[in-house]
Symmetry: C2
Subunit: 372 residues, 2 copies
């Protein structure tokens, strides 16, 4: 495992591995800087989950893994474009978040934390709750009041306390008010270790495909897009790839927080805010400017999609055999919107599982596929 | 890929690869016999899903894969016993059935089939529907009328026709009445190719752990247990292992169809039939005597568990971070019932995803974890 420091993106101050506050003393967001000096690429096939890549991960005294990562990549040629779907919904709790949780909960465990607090639209809450349960750590999860019932039931099932806090943004505010000396804010929107976990997706793309030309991914707090960015940059530093794929961020109507920061925006018509893409209804992500920077510096852009396009894309994906949630379909909707200008290999991570949405006549899948 | 014939278990008649009727002309169940002469162990790391093991699979002209298999194995020491949980719920549609569907739908595709018929408590119906959708084949799925709503929605979402047919056993009867020259009965309870797919789980156990002493697995139509049996026997023939693990079959109260055939049965108290373990409420599985034979010849036995034990086991598994369905918890409940007599390594496949059960206040997970 690699040596590392934690550094503030804003003031540049650095911290050691014992620092447990979620942000810099100046208020800025933190990042983990892994020392790649003398490190070479290597995969530990005997290790579980993302810890197969421990050579490139920050050194930790304990690994907490439920077998996340190593998800299948399925190629389909769509209108002449080579599309590689990476089935991130097959992670242990049904979303790519498990990559981040594995690392963040491992770190919390190293710090001796006994209770973690998290704010989430659902998927990260489920993920943190599961990994915390596995590690024997209590979890308290702040969610929007209109969280899909399936996601709510899952968080409860892992034994976590669930706080319904109004909107997604209000959940972010309330969790910070409830911090105390006895608990630990593991919040993925701030947590720099979380991105050390999600960056492993870039390593898997390298292992499976060597390189791709575009990555099209939904963005809320940006942990996946920033994971791609960080992972690809580390591969570049190691001399394993020669360029970074263009990162195309996808947001949904009413929640296009990146459009203030990104120069090029491709928009579908927005008459109302998204209801379907519940996993990307966050507007106050702490890392917004850095997400925008990654998109712009990679040569990518932002696409904003509406629910009509998401419904069509969701149907397409199920007819290809993919059990995805509506937010994942947002990325495929964006692909369809811009495919005329794409060439080469396009990677689309299918970020979350549709299995969480199946229950009851109120579920989005029921409405799309069964009627009512 | 290996040469093969299809042979009747009852009269011994053999058929070539073009035979498309689901059973022998004598009425008996069929098995695929792969010719292992001159075949050696080898994993094709460039292939997708179970086709990594194509050297040991029947030769096919087309592969239909959604990335099934290669599921994580998580070790926990429980009361001094080494337990290896194999997370089969992380297969593409949330159950181990995807291994069988990949092979059975590949075969259907080779045969030029345009519509497949299947009877299922839910998981196999979802799986066949997804793989058929991917392969561009129509699917009609016969299910019990009280199928969990989540499973129903999923089958519909893949574009399949769904027929509610009364009980699980009635679904088995009705599907056979509806067979015609224009369709193809892919039914997993009969289909010999299905087991060629599920046998790959034994190959993965060999890859990950070399050997285990016990496998504890739920049994309805027996496709998983028979897959273990066939896969381990092929590894034995190839000289890769020296003995077959003891296969412990698990059934639930009211549906212990194997107890007529297996000498040793460990029973919990059964006051009523299971409601929770909906995936193993089948009593007329065509391969019952052969399942019993595999259990007995391996040195295993049958365990029958009640819903109280299943609820406790389900809670235990979630607290370990495993997102399972109640039927998977039946296997862990059985483990807890007999663990005093177990030694060495115990493998428990966690067969199906709890994500399919999360929706609505009527869901089993809601009742167990949230209350009501």
């Amino acid at each position: 495992m690699a040596d590392y420091v934690v550094r503030c993106r804003v003031c540049g101050r650095t911290y050691g591995r014992g620092y447990r506050f979620f942000r810099c003393l100046c208020g800025g967001v933190l990042e983990v800087l892994v020392d790649l000096e003398g490190v070479s690429w290597g995969v530990d096939e005997g290790a579980l989950g993302i810890f197969r890549y421990s050579a490139l991960l920050p050194s930790l005294s304990r690994y907490v893994s439920l077998g996340e990562g190593r998800t299948p990549t399925i190629k389909r040629v769509v209108d002449g474009v080579e599309v590689y779907f990476k089935l991130e919904y097959l992670n242990p709790t049904g979303s790519f978040k498990d990559r981040g949780s594995a690392l963040a909960v491992s770190k919390a465990s190293e710090l001796g934390v006994t209770e973690v607090l998290e704010d989430s639209s659902g998927n990260t809450g489920i993920s943190i709750a599961a990994y915390a349960a596995y590690a024997g750590i209590k979890a308290r999860i702040y969610v929007p009041s209109d969280i899909p019932v399936g996601k709510y039931v899952l968080i409860k099932s892992f034994g976590a306390e669930v706080i319904k806090a109004g909107s997604r943004d209000e959940a972010s505010r309330q969790v910070l008010r409830d911090l105390s000396e006895g608990n630990y804010y593991i919040g993925h929107t701030w947590n720099p270790y979380f991105i050390e976990g999600t960056k492993t997706i870039a390593f898997e793309v390298y292992e499976d495909l060597r390189s791709v030309d575009y990555v099209i991914t939904p963005v809320a707090s940006g942990t996946l897009l920033l994971g791609f960015w960080k992972g690809f940059n580390e591969l570049l530093k190691l001399g394993l790839i020669t360029s970074i794929p263009k990162l195309v961020g996808v947001q949904a109507c009413g929640y296009d927080s990146l459009s203030r920061f990104v120069g090029r925006v491709v928009r579908s018509e927005c008459r109302e805010g998204t209801v379907l893409a519940d996993a990307i209804r966050l507007t106050n992500a702490p890392r917004l400017p850095y997400i925008a920077e990654a998109i712009v510096r990679s040569g990518g852009y932002l696409v904003v999609v509406n629910d009509d396009l998401i419904v069509d894309a969701l149907k397409d994906l199920f007819r290809m055999g993919f059990t995805v949630e509506p937010t994942s379909a947002a990325a495929y909707a964006a692909f369809k919107l811009v495919r005329k200008e794409l060439s080469g290999k396009v990677l689309i991570p299918l970020t979350g599982s549709g299995l969480k949405y199946v229950g009851g006549t109120e579920s989005p899948l029921y409405k799309v596929f069964v009627g009512g």
